[in-house]
């Protein structure tokens, strides 16, 4: 079946729902959101902890509540949100092939917003050697397992395991620990290659500067061999290991349209208007990089919607601007292109812990901005660099380089 809609949004997570809500409210016509999972809301659906802002009365929101509000806002403004519907590829420019229980569809749109989010790298992509036993999962699978078998609490522990090791020291590892403990699974240790972890692991032993060198066990995991900071290898006995963090954008559709992943983010390159190199195709949220909080993704979705409205009023044009790259201990920066307008802040992600770093922005060797950051910067939080200086960018010049000089007292 072939159809035409005004805007097709792929992914009903925070970014996609926020984009759809604004587009539909602004009268963009038929705004259709495709969600391949059985319910809309995205990752927050599985995050039963606060940290998702507050509702209108100021009460803190957990993930599921946030997801419900985001969905309600999109539906109220008139967007169509379809779940259990998968966009499987492109049939042409701005035309997606879709598989649904109701059949195959080919949907053409005036604009497409990709908001497909990010996932954690599993054990294989991290090249962790050893056997391939059961009991090896990511936080995503852990939280989804807890959600799927909710209400069968007595057997949840049986479905997960008895004793777990959590790999990773970022805040997401804390959520993994929380989910394991809520299911009655003992957490033997949290381990990370980082020298420091996020706070809040309570009584769980935290092993820093420690890496997994081998998974052990046939059929079921029996332990993980780890190498500690002293270089010695030992075995942590466990039947479950949860690999957390190490996000990668779920960029399949973007790549299938020829949008190469950027080296730092592994997401499609966009300009400050969230346009990709493909005319009429926008990208927002954690597809751009892994991974920012839901509110950040949603704000990007809303901003991208503004650009889509501009396009619907005029003509599709591809991303434009000067490339923005990182140097030194910075993992990535978004947007990847600094265009003429609008002026947006840069999001910069440290590669490791930085103490009072001096962020530097240069173009062709000339300084555009120097900004001393306070305190410590952790590798799981981005730094926001205001846009005041972007008027100094030479649109005909070379790439803008964001670097850092560390504080040396």
């Amino acid at each position: 079946m072939n159809r035409v809609v005004d805007v097709l949004v792929v992914g009903a997570g925070p970014a996609g729902l926020a984009a759809a809500a604004r587009l539909a409210a602004a009268g963009a016509g038929r705004v259709e959101v495709l969600e391949r999972e059985r319910a809309a809301g995205g990752v927050p659906r599985y995050c039963g902890h606060p940290g998702f802002g507050a509702d209108r009365r100021g009460r803190p929101l957990d993930g599921p509540a946030y997801a419900r509000l985001a969905l309600r806002a999109a539906l109220r403004s008139g967007a169509v949100v379809r779940t259990g519907v998968s966009a499987t590829g492109w049939a042409g420019p701005l035309t997606l092939d879709v598989t649904a229980p109701t059949g195959l569809e080919r949907i053409r749109a005036h604009a497409v917003v990709l908001a497909t989010g990010a996932r954690e790298r599993p054990r294989s992509a991290r090249l962790v050697p050893g056997t391939r036993p059961a009991g090896v999962l990511t936080t995503g699978e852990l939280l989804r397992t807890a959600g799927t078998f909710e209400g069968e609490r007595g057997v949840l522990r049986e479905r997960i395991g008895r004793r777990a090791v959590v790999v990773g020291g970022e805040p997401v590892a804390r959520h993994a620990v929380g989910a394991l403990r809520a299911a009655g699974v003992e957490v033997a240790a949290v381990m990370t290659e980082l020298p420091r972890t996020a706070q809040g692991f309570g009584a769980v032993p935290v092993l820093t500067r420690t890496s997994v060198v081998e998974l052990l066990g046939r059929g079921r995991l029996t332990g993980v061999a780890v190498r500690g900071r002293d270089g010695r290898t030992s075995v942590l006995r466990c039947d479950t290991v949860v690999f957390t963090g190490d996000w990668i954008p779920d960029h399949e559709l973007a790549r299938a349209r020829g949008l190469a992943p950027a080296p730092g983010t592994r997401g499609p390159v966009t300009d400050s208007a969230y346009r990709t190199a493909e005319p009429g195709v926008f990208a927002a949220g954690n597809l751009l990089r892994g991974v920012e909080p839901a509110q950040v993704a949603a704000a990007e979705g809303r901003a991208a919607a503004g650009s889509v409205l501009g396009l619907l009023a005029g003509r599709a044009c591809p991303a434009a601007g000067v490339p923005v790259l990182t140097a030194g201990p910075l993992r990535w920066v978004t947007p990847g292109l600094l265009g003429p307008a609008p002026a947006v802040p840069l999001l910069v992600r440290p590669d490791r812990r930085l103490v009072r770093p001096l962020l530097t922005v240069t173009q062709d060797g000339s300084p555009l901005r120097r900004e001393r950051l306070r305190g410590e910067q952790a590798p799981w939080r981005s730094v926001r660099l205001g846009p005041e200086w972007t008027s100094g960018v030479d649109p005909a010049g070379g790439p803008v380089i964001v670097g850092t000089e560390e504080y040396a007292p």
């Binding site: 391949r36 998968s86 649904a100 195959l104 090249l127 962790v128 056997t131 391939r132 059961a134 959600g147």
Partner: protein, 472 residues
Amino acid sequence: MTVTRTGPLPTGPEAEYDVVVVGAGVVGCAIARALARHPLRVALVEAASDVGDGTSKANTAILHTGFDAAPGTLEARMVREGHRLLGAFASEAGIPVEPLGALLVAWDEQQRAALPRLAEKAERNGHLATRLLSADELRAREPHLGPGALAGLAVPGESVICPWTTTLAYATQAVRSGVDLHLDCRVEKVRTGDPWHRLVTRRGALRTRHLVNACGLHADAFDALLDRRDFTVTPRRGQLLVFDKFARDLVRHILLPVPGPLGKGVLVSPTVYGNVMLGPTAEDLDDKTATGTTAEGLAGLREQGGRIVPALLDEEVTAVYAGLRAATGQEDYRCTAHPALRYVTVGGIRSTGLSASLALAEHVLGLLADCGLDPGPERPLAPVRMPNLGEAFRRPYRDAELIARDPEFGMIVCHCERVTRGEIRAAYASEIPPAGPDGLRRRTRARGGRCQGHFCGAEVRALSESYGKGAR
């Protein structure tokens, strides 16, 4: 025609067979299928909980022509015949095969000098269509090859195939045609006798007139149960890396190394699932269960793969695994009839068992006749049509008619591999249902993609629990 996995085995006349085949790998399943064409009572007995759960599940998934086998060996003949037989069976049974052809790539002068000799060897093996390629011709065929490729040898006919579907198709057809399949049924003792051998298994005893050892890595141990000590199997570990589907466009042919004094080298090959595989290592071990990967092995593979197709290393790795080949220290198979024991050993099927399987099955029928088996008249096998796992063919999620008939084939559960609810349901409703998540993956690809269950693991599990008896 029964499949059992738990509980005691049948007793009395139901536990009496004309032939028992021990080992349900690709070779054992092919033998059982060949026997099923005759009016015989046949059982296929397997220690693991699934067919194809040993060497047959973790290999390089290539249907070889046998161009580089040692001429005159049994292996050379079996692979050549097997290639033809399996090619024909695959299209009948719906096993995905892509005849991409292979390119042997020479990276130094010594390897270049070896290419004409390999072409001659191929001719002696009956493969007349190889062609020497200049560096430019090679690059035209494989634009993403790394720098330094000097020359190549094109070997048409080398194909990629789904090893899981192949084994399962043999077993399914055998079962449909009357063979009893007993899984989770390790044979612990054999009491030879006349006219019956008695097999004591973990789940009870069986009696059989004829016995076939298709135990792969454990063929020597099974021989020992009958007091035969003709050879020793040394497991040779092969570690492999599977790259994400985005790598598929980088490689058009099976890129084979030129064998040299430093060993066979590694290959880079597309898979029928749309990925690219890199491997295998070759490590001789003592432990027949050492199917783990190692840091050194994976690092070495990446280094070698990066020289062959440098862009490969920019792609994500979807899977790492290791398989064990059954090496015996002899450069040929070890297939022996023991007429006095009415016993056939099919040993030393090193790394070409998949390609040779159908020819080996015919060969074993001959060896059984040498042991006094009169198979009786032939009859046609029950037809099989396997679910398609290959990207080159229509998959259910793209099949409008199928979805219209059954909407569950329009419900994608495993998003990376695009496996639908309908396929998972069908796997559990099949003759030989999966015993756990790995078996389900081999039947549907569910959970086998880049996220390795991040998105779908919980739902696949819930479905497994509702369709099957649980996923562990």
